[in-house]
Symmetry: C2
Subunit: 395 residues, 2 copies
């Protein structure tokens, strides 16, 4: 039956790692593998109350078909929040509601990418972004990245080699997987290079509000000229992911195209969920909820960094995130994180080997560790077990 | 900026009709244009109660990330219902939950269609299906259709001309837009032809349970050999559309491919909505709710057919649906339904001109009338006004 499928299915393949990680969902595992926000901070009672009010006040309208663009009061509320949170200033008609930011990436792929088009991305970059874009058959060109973000000289070289690159895909705040944040100077330098080219910047901002140290920086969209940046935002990490309410901010011309492909993709995001979040924003103190998340993640990240310091051998290095959910570890050249995972599963610990985050392969000595879902004690124990696997046992 | 967009955006265009119809959403309009289910039959109280129980009993789990395949108890419940409703007998692991059936169509397009691949479809066919598939650049070949469904001899001719056709897209029950139902003989004849070819049948079944006269027929999936048919089903028309909970039933090999593209499209459908529908199926008498819909739509369809009989001029013909939401009218050759719409808007009546439902154009003398959303009185008045526009005024 293989030949009946579209050619794209050759590069849309099941992740071997994902299969391996299925066994690690058992509760006796210490999972540093996923990217789940801490459920103990979901405001379940407040969300239940917002749902109750949707049904009581909106009735059947909350359950009927609605417009592709999204629920107007929610679009307006998001537009009102953005100047504070990312510094961007879109109008309400420059916001499109999406079914999670993952759908935003799919819609972007549909609107921009022909087979063979070049997408410039950080090295490493978000696996879900690669998966969404891969459906449309682009080539990924990795721009070198350090602790301050994308390296401008590397971007220049990439653009010399690929002057017709279509998209630059960037996660400037507490990046998944590396946990790094771009400095202001790098944001400005990258935008200065990009504005000389006919290309769009896709700024993926799921974690921006989860800063637990350092000072907030303006987003690329806030710094860029009009129409250069499309910014993806979501309630998944600051509220909860299970409602799948997210958005794209972009200029009108882009939004019009995105609406066309969104209509073909799922008609609209669920009416109930949009009205529920809209109501919640009126009554619930979201800023205070985010503050509680920052406190929790600061402690958990601290526990992970302390454990790495104490337990990981000489030669391993790691990032020190100022927010978000992830720490990125580089093991000495030649050590395989995939092999380490196989052994880690034997001691009930899971993480994600870093190779999958590089679209063109390599970097098998890297790994991503998540600190948002486990307690500090479990994190410390998980890192200790990993460290023990890395240190050769004494004879 | 045009050239930065993907080539596919040349054939993914805003519908001129959709723009025109925006003015008709005002409450003073008699809209026979949409495809909305009657909201007065949405079980708002029962859905609110199911939501309350989700939050009380599942807590944060209803708001956390979940699996791409869908909520296991919901998949099992759908698998249990299908033998009664469509005669298909998939296992729970042969059900993938989708964000509306529109997403099902998008996923099918992704998994099967390369640019230039041939999709065979009814003539006319569902506009949303055309929109979903068009993103992947296929050629549509229209199979002739009459009151008994797709005409086997026409299908044979199409397959002689296009032996490598990839998909056959079919809506056998109360089709959108034509309101027609395939006879059992036609279902069997079409499947007998298709099984000699290496192609998949996409059976779109949003309306199958909304039969208000005649006897139920087995679905194509129930009649076909294993793996030949993918069947799309949804709660949108039998419960409510605003939750966006739908499914694809297909064999394991197909589901595996669909899961991969679903993961890239939106990770998963909203956790809350899936749990809510799953709970509702345990406590709410869905069969009784559907029976109320059938009664309502039977009366409304009857009002429309009686009004057409009384008000439309000689030379116009129309279908007599046994279920679903739509009647299809063919005006005399040379009469333009688009022109009629312009004049109808002047008398506060809206409908959808039929031309858009033919992927290769023509048939401008056809129109789709919806009877699910307006009262019998409003339907009769709307048809009367349309009829008056069609009959030349006496001198």
């Amino acid at each position: 039956m293989e030949e009946i499928f579209a050619r794209r299915m050759q590069h849309v393949r099941a992740s071997e790692i994902r299969e391996i990680l299925k066994v690690t969902e058992r509760p006796d595992f210490i999972s540093l593998a996923g990217g789940l926000p801490a459920p103990e901070l979901f405001p379940v009672t407040e969300i239940a109350e917002a749902a109750r009010r949707c049904f009581a006040e909106d009735g059947a309208a909350a359950l009927q078909y609605s417009t592709t663009e999204g629920y107007a009061p929610l679009r307006a509320a998001i537009a009102r929040r953005l100047p504070e949170t990312t510094g961007a200033r879109p109008g309400a008609d420059e916001i499109l509601i999406t079914t999670g930011s993952q759908q935003g990436l799919d819609l972007v792929g549909k609107v921009f990418l022909d087979e063979g088009d070049v997408v410039l991305c950080e090295s490493p970059t978000y696996l879900g972004g690669l998966q969404a874009f891969r459906v449309f058959g682009p080539r990924f060109v990795e721009v070198e990245t350090d602790d301050e973000g994308m390296i401008p000289a590397s971007l220049e070289r990439c653009l010399e080699a690929e002057p017709r690159a279509k998209l630059l895909y960037a996660i400037p705040d507490f990046q998944n997987p590396a946990g790094r944040t771009w400095s202001l100077a790098r944001r400005e330098a990258v935008l200065a290079i990009v504005e000389r080219h006919r290309m769009a910047v896709i700024e993926d901002c799921p974690y921006g509000e989860l800063r637990f140290s350092g000072s907030p920086l303006p987003s690329l969209m806030a710094l860029a000229g009009p129409g250069q940046v499309l910014q993806l935002g979501t309630f998944s990490k600051i509220l909860c992911p299970g409602l799948r309410v997210a958005w794209i901010a972009a200029n009108r011309a882009m939004i019009e195209k995105l609406v066309l492909v969104k209509q073909a993709a799922d008609l609209h995001s669920p009416s109930l969920n949009q009205r529920l979040v809209s109501r919640l924003l009126e009554t619930y103190d979201l800023a205070a909820g985010i503050e509680r998340m920052r406190d929790l993640y600061r402690r958990r990240c601290g526990a992970m960094l302390a454990a790495l310091e104490g337990e990981f051998p000489e030669g391993a290095t790691w990032t020190r995130p100022e927010g978000g959910l992830f720490v990125w570890v580089t093991l000495p050249e030649g050590v395989s994180a995939r092999d380490l995972l196989t052994r880690a599963i034997g001691v009930q610990v899971a993480f994600v080997p870093g190779g999958a985050f590089f679209p063109n392969g390599g970097h098998e000595n890297t790994l991503r560790l998540n600190f948002s879902i486990m307690t500090p004690e479990r994190i410390a124990e998980g890192v200790r077990r990993l460290g023990a696997l890395l240190v050769p046992a004494p004879l």
